[in-house]
């Protein structure tokens, strides 16, 4: 950034225009606020801005702006605290806690639990082992039960069921809520159902209160049908089953189990994760795909880039037709429909069939020479340039990053 202070007429205009969407962000820091003792405090230095000659100027027109005005988002308002002193009943939730944090599916579930709990009930979140979550309060957790112990670590579904059975015995929750997900919740919920002898409602996406009690609707069969039934005790809910909690804070009071959890005979032993070669991951499942098309001239470099990035390789139809890539690696409507989180497309102009095939990808990065191509319209980040040089630079950047990470670790 240069040191020359420049006027930004557009920013000034936005700052004056109260209807502009960016108006709030353009306002200077508050000049006066309530101090901790109820006294109004003022910041006399905050007033004004640095003029072009380095002199401080005060603009009375209300359009105060300047390069050194810090534009911070308004401080988050404190939400009201929801207290349940003496819970009449519990709604137990077992979130997936992928990566030790609440995921969006978990938050939806807590929102649903909150709805079922109403004012009298308390939402009891049961988690196993350590966590990294700091926002249990705004997610809607009234009581937090953390079950620790080496026997619950790793993949120990049978032992976890024992833990949940202990919770069931002690708290006798009115409902059990688990996410019907592939990250563990679906499995754990079904095991719990089989163990408790409860018939769960699965893939539930809607709960409605009716005159005859609550009804829940879940997907049935291969997702072509719905089944509605009276709300059972054990609910395995799909993602977006309810709105997450967003208007209240909750106490997150820790609770604990009284007795020790019964040890189950370890019939399934976790021997740990197996290293998977990114190249061997099926395309449809791969998380990060580096895909090449007609614009790639140096395929050896392409393969090196994929290896350096640790990406699964894919290709457009043309790349496959021309023999640069196996047919199983073709992305698109006539090849594989991919679901990668990051899809890096090199030299792919983006035929409609190809764009169809990457519809489910979260982030798409395009590297292409033609700024008008369809892939760039779809991409979240596009680099217009020569793919050869960019791939070389990418390899270098990754290596630097890895070196840096290593040095930090050292």
């Amino acid at each position: 950034m240069s040191d020359i202070i420049r006027r930004d007429p557009r920013a000034e205009w936005i700052a004056r225009n109260r209807l502009h969407p960016l108006h709030a962000a353009m306002q200077p820091q508050p000049q006066q606020w309530m101090g901790p003792h109820g006294v109004v405090r003022k910041n006399p230095h905050g007033l004004g801005f640095m003029g072009p000659n380095g002199l401080k100027r005060i603009d009375r027109s209300g359009a105060q702006q300047g390069g050194n005005v810090r534009r911070t988002a308004a401080a988050e308002a404190k939400l009201p605290l929801h207290r349940v002193a003496e819970p009449a009943f519990y709604i137990a939730v077992v979130p997936d806690m992928v990566g030790g944090r609440l995921g969006s599916h978990d938050r939806d579930l807590l929102g649903l639990a909150h709805r079922l709990a109403g004012q009298e009930g308390a939402v009891l979140a049961v988690i196993f082992g350590e966590h990294k979550e700091s926002a249990f309060d705004t997610a809607g957790v009234d009581r937090l039960l953390q079950i620790d112990g080496s026997e619950f670590e790793g993949y120990a579904p049978e032992q976890r069921v024992q833990g949940l059975r202990a919770v069931d015995g002690q708290f006798q929750p009115r409902h059990w809520l688990l996410p019907d997900s592939r990250s563990g919740g679906g499995e754990l919920g079904r095991r719990l159902g089989a163990s408790l002898g409860e018939r769960p409602a699965t893939r539930v996406w809607q709960i409605k209160d009716g005159p005859a009690g609550s009804q829940c609707t879940g997907r049935a069969g291969a997702g072509q049908q719905d089944i509605s039934r009276a709300l059972p005790r054990l609910i395995l809910a799909a993602a977006e089953c309810a709105e997450p909690v967003d208007e209240t804070r909750h106490e997150v009071l820790p609770v604990s189990l009284h007795g020790a959890v019964a040890r189950s005979l370890p019939r399934i032993e976790d021997l740990g994760a197996v290293a998977v070669d990114p190249a061997a991951i099926p395309m449809a499942e791969a998380e990060f795909i580096l895909s090449g098309g007609n614009g790639v001239s140096d395929w050896a470099l392409f393969h090196r880039t994929a290896e350096a990035l640790g990406a699964t390789e894919g290709g457009s139809r043309v790349a496959v037709d021309n023999g640069h890539m196996a047919r199983a690696r073709q992305v698109g409507a006539s090849g594989t429909w991919v679901t990668a989180r990051v899809y890096l497309a090199v030299g792919i102009s983006g035929a409609i069939q190809h764009l169809q095939g990457i519809g489910a990808c979260e982030k798409v990065i395009a590297i292409n020479l033609d700024p008008g191509c369809d892939m760039i319209k779809r991409a979240d980040l596009s680099i217009i340039g020569d793919s050869h040089e960019l791939m070389l630079a990418l390899i270098e950047a990754v290596e630097q990053y890895r070196h840096g990470a290593k040095r930090e670790a050292a």
């Binding site: 043309v318 037709d321 023999g323 047919r327 409609i352």
Partner: protein, 650 residues
């Protein structure tokens, strides 16, 4: 001296040849029974040989004339030699006749020899290089031996030495020509070929007829094998047909898969079948191997499975069923039938349809379309067109068979264009709507006869409910199946390809057409319209009516090169050195046309899959629709010009 040697040699070789022939016939008889008119076929054979076969051979004038001289001379010479030298009927007239015959044959043989001096790659070498010399030896020796009979030379001219030389010459000649004919030498083609023509499995092809529909498999009889696993599972006349191959390699020169470097060579395939019929391995095959597959690694016998012994599966799946080989074969061998027979076994018994094949077949079973689209969406393309549906109207003059292109966004443009043309011409037409199913073309070419028959039966049932005079379709594959293959299941229809139908409309003056304005145009003949159904003229007629002078490709008409989209080839997707549509696009580029007119959704898809820049691809229906001058439009323009005039002169 010679009077002893010659009859001995002649009759000995004839006796051995007869023995060999019986042995060969026994080999063919290992095949399954087939319905054949034995006597009628034999009687029709000379005409089939002289007319139908010659018609194909005559595409190459040089070899046609050479063959007439050599083969004609040989047949005459052989008959006369048996009479003159075999039975010792030393008549002067017969002597001169024999001299003339051998001279004719000798002349022909000289040309054969010339051809073999620097043979093109498609010709087999090996024993075939020996053949012209043997022909020369036969004709030369008999010529010399006959000179005394004709009285040109004295009786014992040349004495012992001459007799010995002639004896050797005759021995060589009769061994190649009589023994070799029955014992598997190059001359086998004459013996097997003649019988093949007599007992051909598609007798309709002779006399200018056409028979291209695949023969149905009897699924109700549990004793019928599902396709061909071992050579003995072919019918005996198919085995006979394989033996008729002269290894001229015309099929090889025309085969798109061979040219693309896919592991298929029709000539080698037929020769492999001969190996399977007689037992042995392919090390001695003297022609081009399957691309990428060295010789000598495959062997077989009549009782051993063909696939992965004699022939690899990818060879069979490389075929696009374009029929270029069949069209080109002077012996009228049915390559495509054989390939589909073997595919049937792989699919119906082994469940080994490669790549996306299994998925496509599952989709056809579960959704009646190869893409697995919801069957209820079949008419979505025409949501705003107000098409009449047969279920509502019960009858119409024309039934418009939409085909599976209904699910393909590119093909929907063609369909909509054709509907526009039909409406402009005021044709009374209706569609089957949701009652229509895939015609079964792909399923059948992929060898899934069961799924094909299921689809065919249900389509025929749906069609039987309604009254219409003809079916019109934009898809040559559906066209072929409806016209030629449904008859075996009780569906006899009058079917038109849309190009034929538009040509008729134009002739009937029902379309008001302007001129095409989009630059120079070439036309790509779809295999299933051209070679399968002989329709080369109507599309060109339509293009002419649009004021287009077609820039013909070098390979057009019956020699049109396949786009690579037939026979399920894009589904089985066998890798080669290059892609067939790329080669076809190269053909198109050579004409320097800016646009290629097509008449098939498969061709459109395959050609549009070629990387740009390339000529544009448009269906004939689209070209016609673009050039339509609609009557109400003209009325409007007249009205508006009048109004303008009124404003100018108040």
């Amino acid at each position: 001296m010679l009077s002893v040697i010659l009859p001995t040699l002649l009759f000995a070789s004839l006796a051995l040849a007869a023995f060999g022939a019986l042995r060969r016939i026994a080999l063919w008889r290992r095949g399954r029974p087939a319905q054949v008119d034995v006597l009628g076929g034999l009687l029709a054979m000379p005409k089939r040989y002289a007319v139908d076969l010659h018609h194909v051979v005559a595409r190459d004038k040089y070899i046609a004339n050479t063959h007439v001289a050599t083969a004609g001379g040989f047949v005459l010479a052989a008959l006369l030699a048996i009479v003159v030298h075999g039975f010792g009927l030393h008549n002067r007239v017969l002597g001169f006749a024999l001299l003339a015959a051998t001279a004719l044959m000798f002349t022909g043989a000289v040309f054969v020899y010339k051809r073999r001096l620097n043979p093109p790659a498609r010709l087999s070498k090996g024993p075939w290089m020996r053949l012209p010399k043997s022909l020369l030896a036969f004709s030369g020796s008999f010529f010399l031996a006959t000179l005394p009979v004709a009285g040109v030379l004295p009786e014992h001219f040349g004495g012992w030495a001459m007799a010995a030389i002639l004896g050797v010459g005759v021995l060589w000649g009769v061994s190649e020509l009589f023994l070799g004919m029955a014992w598997g030498g190059p001359m086998k083609h004459a013996f097997a070929g003649a019988l093949h023509l007599a007992w051909h499995r598609r007798a309709e092809r002779f006399g200018g007829g056409r028979s291209t529909g695949l023969k149905p498999l009897d699924l109700t009889d549990s004793r019928t094998p599902l396709g061909v696993e071992k050579p003995k599972d072919f019918t005996w006349n198919q085995l006979l047909g394989f033996d008729a191959c002269v290894q001229c390699g015309r099929c090889e020169a025309m085969c798109p898969a061979f040219a693309a470097g896919q592991p298929l060579n029709p000539k080698k395939l037929i020769q492999d079948m001969v190996i399977g019929l007689a037992g042995g391995n392919d090390a001695r095959f003297a022609g081009s191997p399957y691309p990428g597959k060295p010789l000598g690694e495959h062997s077989g016998n009549p009782h051993q499975p063909i696939v992965n012994g004699l022939v690899d599966a990818d060879t069979l799946w490389s075929c696009t069923t374009c029929r270029a080989c069949v069209e080109e074969c002077p012996m009228m061998i049915e390559h495509v039938d054989a390939i589909v027979d073997m595919r049937r076994f792989l699919t119906l018994e082994k469940g080994a349809t490669p790549n996306k094949g299994a998925e496509v077949l599952d989709n056809l079973i579960a959704t009646d379309n190869p893409g697995g689209f919801a069957p209820g969406g079949r008419m979505n393309w025409a949501a705003d067109l107000n098409l009449k549906v047969m279920a509502d109207v019960q009858q119409a003059e024309v039934l418009f068979w939409v085909g599976d292109g209904a699910f393909d966004m590119r093909n929907q443009r063609t369909l909509r264009a054709f509907v526009k043309v039909l409406k402009a011409a005021g044709v009374d037409f209706a569609v089957l709507g949701l009652e229509e199913r895939d015609s079964g073309d792909v399923a059948r070419r992929l060898g899934d006869e069961a799924t094909f028959q299921g689809l065919a039966r249900r389509n025929i049932q749906a069609l039987a409910q309604y009254r219409f005079t003809r079916i019109v379709t934009c898809d040559p594959h559906s066209f072929h199946v409806l016209k030629n293959e449904y008859a075996a299941f009780g569906g006899q229809y009058e079917v038109r390809h849309h190009s034929t139908f538009i040509a008729e409309l134009i002739q009937g003056g029902r379309l008001n057409l302007g001129q095409h304005t989009g630059g120079s145009v070439t036309y790509h003949d779809p295999c299933y319209l051209g070679r399968y159904n002989g329709e080369y003229e109507a599309p060109r007629e339509v293009l002419r009516a649009l004021g287009i002078e077609v820039r013909e490709m070098q390979r057009s008409g019956f020699r049109s090169r396949c786009c690579g989209g037939g026979g399920g080839a894009p589904i089985t997707d066998v890798p080669g050195k290059q892609r067939i549509p790329d080669m076809r696009m190269e053909d198109i580029r050579q004409t320097e046309a800016e646009l290629v007119a097509v008449g098939c959704p498969q061709c459109t898809a395959m050609l549009e899959g070629v990387v740009e820049p390339r000529p544009a691809i448009k269906d004939i229906a689209e070209l016609v629709a673009d050039a339509l001058i609609e009557a109400p439009l003209r009325a409007n323009s007249v009205a508006s010009s009048k109004r303008e005039a009124a404003q100018v002169n108040p």
